[in-house]
């Protein structure tokens, strides 16, 4: 991809170029999506350095998977998100997580949302404990839609659901969270 590459090149075009060996094209994809992927990972691991390492690995692994990648109606960002989630599972398994992840042994009631290295006394423990006690889908939609403030269509693409499903899921998740917070606050 030369200097004449326009900003408005679609993801599909960039992916095709990257698949045929254009490193700059993949670099452009990186610059487009490094922020949301980093923010997602940062939210999950809490530590900036770990988030940087994992973010870089997500894009490396995505590049290595490019030859077999086909859009199939799902955007590239959703693919990156899946890679990031799998990377996080591996990350926690390799660290023998104090903070278990869903695919690891998430035990009911454990404060799984208390990300490593960020347990400060001034944190809103009630909200974190309440979040950790919710079903995993509820936790994820709250992270993506609320904490990261992703628009609903993007959350739908990432989670592989319809927009209606995401709105309903968010509604139920926030109601459940509110109820849990009230219970925790009363303790």
């Amino acid at each position: 991809m030369g200097e004449g590459t326009e900003r408005s090149a679609s993801d599909s075009d960039l992916i095709s170029l990257a698949q045929s060996g254009d490193a700059d094209a993949f670099g452009e994809l990186y610059l487009r999506y490094v922020n949301p992927i980093y923010r997602y990972i940062r939210m999950r691991v809490g530590d900036a350095h770990a988030a940087e390492d994992l973010t870089e690995m997500v894009f490396l692994r995505s590049f290595e998977s490019l030859p077999g990648y086909r859009e199939r109606g799902h955007p590239f960002s959703a693919f990156l998100y899946r890679v990031a989630r799998n990377m996080l599972v591996d990350h926690y398994r390799s660290k023998k997580a104090e903070v278990p992840l869903e695919e690891a042994d998430l035990k009911e009631g454990e404060p799984a949302a208390l990300e490593e290295g960020v347990i400060r006394k001034d944190r809103d423990q009630a909200i974190l404990e309440a979040l950790a006690s919710l079903p995993l889908d509820y936790q994820e939609v709250i992270r993506l839609r609320v904490a990261m403030a992703l628009p609903t269509p993007s959350v739908a693409e990432w989670m592989g659901r319809s927009e209606v499903s995401v709105r309903v899921l968010l509604h139920r998740a926030l109601k459940a969270l509110r109820k849990k917070v009230e219970e925790v606050d009363q303790e």
Partner: protein
């Protein structure tokens, strides 16, 4: 699941949350705009605010982005150079070479399938999760789905297969095979999701692919699952509870679809929610302004996402 009168709808909650996130309104303003739902809206948006204050992640440092970008390009170019160093002769030798023995093996395989395949397919219909023919059974089902040409045909098959998964789960519960029960219910969840998506877009008014019929079917499925749950071991109940929750979620989705856009449901003074049934095009995103303040995306389906950041902008947290 029925919504109580006065309970805020998912669309309204989403709309108000977007307004607050984009800085177009405060929680108090949203609540006062919809007085009938003020209490609930205020509470839910306040809960969301607590989450955002606690968990909203930071942007990466520009220095990291630039360094990482350069490292990534360097590694890509190094790996490309490495691949180019593979001599054509070496590459050719790595390709499978067609040999007469392979042709004979393929012919024998095809003959075997033709002569014995029909029997295998028939036998697989009774297979249960964990059995050797279960993979064949599921493959046959997917093949039949791929070969149907109508939405109603698809819907009929999906309904049958979802109920077959429930039967399998019930059988697994009876013999205490919790892992295999989980496998069956994962298949049930998947089939129900597909059937819900089909009902959402097909426009069928009657039959298995209609929203009304699906709602009734889900209610029945939940009853079946609850019945199975009552005499299942604890390990199995985890899977069954998840399947029940999944079905209830799909019921709630259907309720939203069935109930959307009906003016008689709106309370006096309530603003029409802009969202309609699922399947709206990307162009409709703009009217609610869901995107953060970024350059508008292209019209292509998978062009730059509205929230993909430009190179040099350090974004503010929402």
């Amino acid at each position: 699941m029925t919504r109580n009168r006065g309970e805020v709808s998912p669309e309204l909650l989403d709309q108000c949350m977007t307004e607050v996130q984009l800085g177009r309104g405060r929680i108090e303003a949203s609540s006062s705009q919809f007085p009938e739902f003020a209490g609930t809206l205020s509470t839910l948006l306040g809960t969301a605010n607590r989450i955002r204050e606690e968990l909203a992640p930071e942007d990466p440092e520009p220095a990291f982005v630039n360094t990482s970008h350069a490292r990534l390009l360097n590694r890509i170019q190094v790996s490309r150079r490495g691949r180019r160093q593979v001599l054509p002769k070496q590459l050719q030798s790595a390709r499978p070479i067609w040999r007469p023995a392979y042709a004979l093996a393929v012919i024998l395989l095809v003959l075997g399938l033709l002569l014995g395949g029909a029997g295998v397919v028939k036998a697989s219909a009774q297979a249960l999760p964990g059995g050797s023919l279960y993979v064949v059974k599921r493959a046959v089902e997917e093949t039949r789905l791929a070969l149907t040409w109508s939405a109603s045909g698809d819907a009929g098959l999906m309904k049958a297969y979802s109920e077959e998964r429930l039967s399998e789960a019930s059988a697994m519960a009876a013999v205490g095979r919790s892992d295999d029960l989980g496998l069956a219910l994962a298949g049930y969840d998947d089939m129900i999701d597909r059937l819900t998506a089909l009902a959402e877009t097909s426009g069928l008014q009657v039959g298995p692919g209609s929203l009304v019929q699906l709602q009734a079917d889900l209610e029945r499925h939940i009853e079946v699952l609850q019945g199975v749950n009552s005499h299942s071991p604890a390990a199995a109940q985890v899977h069954i509870d998840k399947a029940i929750e999944h079905s209830r979620h799909n019921q709630a989705v259907i309720e939203q679809l069935v109930g959307s856009g009906n003016p008689s449901d709106l309370a006096p003074g309530q603003q029409n929610t802009p969202k309609g049934p699922a399947g709206k095009s990307d162009d409709d995103r703009g009217e609610s302004g869901e995107s953060p303040p970024e350059p508008a995306g292209t019209e292509k389906p998978h062009g730059p996402s509205p929230w993909a950041r430009p190179r040099s902008t350090k974004t503010k947290a929402p």
